[in-house]
Amino acid sequence: MTTGDFPADLRGRPRTDRAMRVIGTVLSHYLRAAERAEYKDAVAGHNPDRAMNLVVTGREVVAADDDVAAITLAARDGGELPVWHPGSHLDLHLPSGRRRQYSLCGDPRDRHSYRVAVRRIADGGGGSIEMHALQPGSPVTVRGPRNGFPFVGSGSALFVAGGIGITPIIAMVREAIRAGMDWQFVYCGRSRQTMPFLDEIAQWDQSRVFVRTDDEHGLPKPGELLQRATQGGAVYCCGPTPMLNTVRREFRECPATALHFERFGPPPITNGREFDVRLISDGSVVAVGADESLLTAVKKTRPDVAYSCQQGFCGTCKVRVLSGTPEHLETRLTPAEQQDHMLICVSRSAGEQLVLDI
């Protein structure tokens, strides 16, 4: 390394920094030593494929309106399945090739089966219809369980479940009851017909339970959902996004200190327009639909494009804009950075086309 390569002295003396010269030289020699050898695949620790081939062993309707089915899965040989904790979900590969995630709603102490509950949605992506069509004996490949909503209960907890959000919550409440915790439970739904597991819930200590339905109680009033939260306690919430947003907002006025919820993927796109993106590395043009993000569109041909939060705050997906005007919808970049960069997970194009350094 030549003198021009080193930073100035830390204390402003008129020379390059001595300590940095030493450290820079040591580190660059160290890495250059690594480059003298070629990487050999033989040293890699190849991880085994974690997919499990399970089979449906049970199917039960669990809501009065027949639209919610609880599916039980087990290993073909009846063997033990991986341990899970309340809040975990399973990643199912359906026969059609679709993949869907469902929270585990059974008993973690049952090591030989997994149970999920699915509401049938007639005009969704078809996943729930396929799940409802599964019969005992159907094979299903699964990955997981993974936990994005861990129950770390101690002390007191208020559980708030909306609609099919009951699935992870019910496993948590059972755990809280077993552990002798101080718990309260609020279960919201459109009507009792649509809400699963009401029979089981009726067996619990009813002084701790509030089942509220829109048709009987109307829509929740401000602060109502969190009314039973205790000073210094925790709140666990799972349900439709509007309910979750309400709880997150109202949590500020609430005496509880910890809020747990499952953090889902990207928000839906509202008022999006179609536009094109040209990728400079090979000149290819990607069409971005009005209801998909730039990231989703680019991932189709560039599956390794970097991203993380998908909500415009972490900055991982930052790319240089070579031409065109972005519509910045994120909260991370400085105005200077926004001159020639954008976050592709949420930002879009103000014009017809963007040219990106991808």
Binding site: Y39, V43, N245
Partner: protein, 295 residues
Amino acid sequence: MSTTSEPDEVMLQARNVEFDWSRLPMHWIPGDPFTTHVLNVLHLLLPAGEEWFVETFKQALPYIEDEKLRDDVIGFIGQEAVHAGAHTGVLKHLQESGLDPTPFTDQMDWAFGKVLGSHPVTSLRDKNNLVERLALIAAIEHATAFLGDWVLNADGLDRAGVDPTMLDLLRWHGAEEVEHRSVAYETMRYFDKREVRRLRTLFIVAPMLVFMWIRGVRFLMAKDPLLADLPKYRRRPHMADWRASAKRGTLPEFRHLAVRMGRYLRRSYHPSQEGSTAQAVRYLASSPAAQAAAR
């Protein structure tokens, strides 16, 4: 205390945070500029360091076929990116308060950006360089894991009346380090399962961390405008100051640091041994900065 076993492995996602530094005093541990500046070294090192983590892991991601590890790495990258941004916010405040950190941070940008920085991987030699960087990061992540565990349990900091916003930054960051403590190790292992790759990096990382810390505290204390009128001896850090803080529980004891860093040498080492995921998750659910960012 519940008798349930607690989850030790959770899905990783970046959390958005909002910190308001406008009311942060220069000596945010009241009456203790030494410990304040020891902990301030984090703000000098982490922005450039964690951006280097992000760039290195972004380079590694295309080679990772294991789905679960891919998901973990994507979450890890986002968390480290948010960490770097949060610590940069403190640097701005220090500058506005009359302590200009840029001579030091410029050097960190140079060290992490130029010396250790990534160049495109176009050969198996370049790939070996990438894997060596992953191994260096795994060693650093071991340190951040046990330091995160320390800060979550350090009630000495509460007793000392540490500024609540800064305490939240330290604990939110520490909790996420505990939460993702296995990712860098698992990634290194995915590419290279040999002990020799893992262990040699400790002999670079440990001395570098010690050296950078001493250098950082000396720099900050020399530049602290509130210490300008003190005699030279009082403007320099001393081992006795550290021992005094360790006694009060506002810093870890030297012996504790050495023992925990040394655990990396054990053949049975695994990062999951270095902290409690459940404790980290509990803190993160209660972090005021994470709740403030909820729109």
